[in-house]
Amino acid sequence: MKTSIPHQFLLISDAADDHWNQVLREALAVLGPLQIVSEREAAAFLQMHAVDMVIVDAGAVSSAPKELIRQIRELHPGARVVVVTASPHWKIAKAVIQAGAADYVEKMLNREAILARFGKILEQ
């Protein structure tokens, strides 16, 4: 799945030291680098950098994911937005996908499964 041009990933999470962040970074490494910013830093980062995928950790931000998706899509209409969560619920899934998220993904620890899932979203 290695590509010649690396993809740029951004994770928005206020839990900078979360173990899962490191798992995600390692899993996506073959596709491209992952930057991690807090919700407060996100807008400034997105104004300055091109990204292919923005990952929002729904459990580690204070705003409603729907609102964050709206803001991200305004700044980067071409970027895919994926909402990740440790406790998925169908109502949130419906809300974020209808708001424009490319997917709603339960956090997993298997790096291969993460790579497969996010790689597929990039291919869509």
Binding site: P88, H89, W90, Q98, A102, D103, Y104, Q124
Partner: protein, 668 residues
Amino acid sequence: MSQTLKRRGEKMARGTILFADNDADFLNVRSEFLEDEGYTVLKASGPEEARKVLDQQRVQLAIFDIRLTDDSEGDISGLELAQEPAYRAIPKIMLTGFPDVDTVRTALRKRHVLDELPPAVDYIPKKDGPEALIQAVGDAFVHAVRLNWDLQIQWDPRERLSFLYLANLQHPDLQDDVLLQRAGELEDLFRKLFYGHRQIRIGRLLWHDDGRFCLTLAAQTPEGAIDPRILVCGEPERLAQELNRMAELAPETVEGTKLADTTETVHFGAVTYMLPDADMETIQSFREFFEGGGERRLKTVLSHLLSEMLLAWHKRGQKVEERGLMALYRQCAGLGGDGLSQTDVESRINALIQVVQAMSGVHVERRDGLMSLFFPGESPLTCPDPVTAVYRPLERYRTGVACTVSPGRLTAENMLVDAGRRAWLTDFARANQTPQWWDYVCLEAIIRFDLSHAPDLLAWLDFENRLVEPSGLHTRLSLQDITSDLRTSVNLIEQIRRHAGGRVGTDTLPYYAGLLAWVVGAMAGHKPAALYTHAERMRAAHMLLAAVKLSCRLGEAFSPSLPGGQLHMQDGHTVWMGDSRIDDLGVQELALLKCLIERAGQVVSRQTIVEEVFGEEYVADDKAQESRINTLVRRLRLKIEPNPDRARYILTLKGIGYRLDVDGKPSG
């Protein structure tokens, strides 16, 4: 109920919904709520019934229960139905008694970022009650169905068009009740396409071809501005293909035809194009413009077409095709690939010959690879059979053919001319890489066969003699013996050839070969009719005459010194003769060749052929089997033998069978 819902209900009085649920009580009760809101509800109790409604009725929104078949835990047949590509244009709402994350994701995510709609636009738990469903339906009509109910649709009274007429053009075989529904669906397509407009005025039917039609229209914006457009409508898949070709191949010229909007319903797709600064009221087809006469004005338009419009496409890039020139031309002319089989071509041209022979004194003979024309008062004209010739390789162009991007097959109808004498192209469904001579060939063929008129066969004979004389595309065409009716045509053809010569070289051989493929394709496209006018018979005779003349002119090129090259098969299906690939082999022809190649140099009995190729039991002295073998061998020889009448590869061993010589050594 809120005022908003009441207003929406009134507004959506014309909305038609398919509601599919296998729980009859639930279906009936919820349908009543929707009907009370003013919607028309068509009910279905399972996937098959739902498909039938979608295929036959005018449906604007669909509601599917996820468990649509048997309510078991694994039943997601409603969700699967929502994902079927055939119904991608219908917005859908999923209903479920068991909401979960996975089905939400499957239903609401777009499968591709470019998809217009996801499989479903909303996802509602059944327990949320009728209000939630009514709200979702109202939202779906506003945000996803998006029909402009307020659009005023006007028709030009001179044209006598209607949605019913247009639906019938695309689907002529439908029963009346289904056709009425299609007409309604076509109206929906227009209301969807012109969602932001106040009014449209549908003008003229410019052309219709193979299930597609093209109209002129003017759309008025809410601010009162007029957008002149042309609209091409056809089956959604065909239109999607056209759009893909446009995206991949079309030039980004400032002046050319520009894609404006596109949309689709279940059975129709539509594309609108803008013709910047063209006056749609006075725009004419090339045929109408040609019939207006005046050589100078015709030359001006041709010059614009050649130097601006076509050149912009041709500049999109060249590539060299591995296949031979005649195989490529056959594809362009509808004689190969997905087009007509050689057997169909033969039978259609034989039917056309019958039409020609109904003219007094005209006689046509096809025998031993030759075609002879007997015209009253003229000595017979005998040449290599042009139909057979089209299926044989052209010696100097067996491979490595220069191709360029073509906007598609040009016709007298799909090229338009505006009041400023600018030419416009309108049909891009067949845009593709074609041999670099093809567009020029089509232009000449339109003038030569479609638009020119001659008083009699003798005039056509003189015309054709002059046109096949030159050995270079730059050579001036003689007007000797040409009747006044045809002089303008000769001069326009000379203009096309000179331009072509400047772009692709002056060799007439590939150019004439293209004309031969075009005219054989046009003859094969002839649909038998009960009655023929004298003009139709004359046109058929002219095409036959031209085909024979071109075949004579090309005869030597088709059968020169015999080509070398070992016959071999790659991957069990690609056949090569030396460096040249043999295309267009039918399934049985390929099976026969495989059978022979596997036993190259050995005797292959007729019994082996029957058993291996036909998969049947051999019956000695069965005349039908004998005849089928002979026909199949003959067809294969036509495609691989340099001279099918003097076979070098597939040798007949009388009374025994056949033997393949892969080297094709000349005998004696």
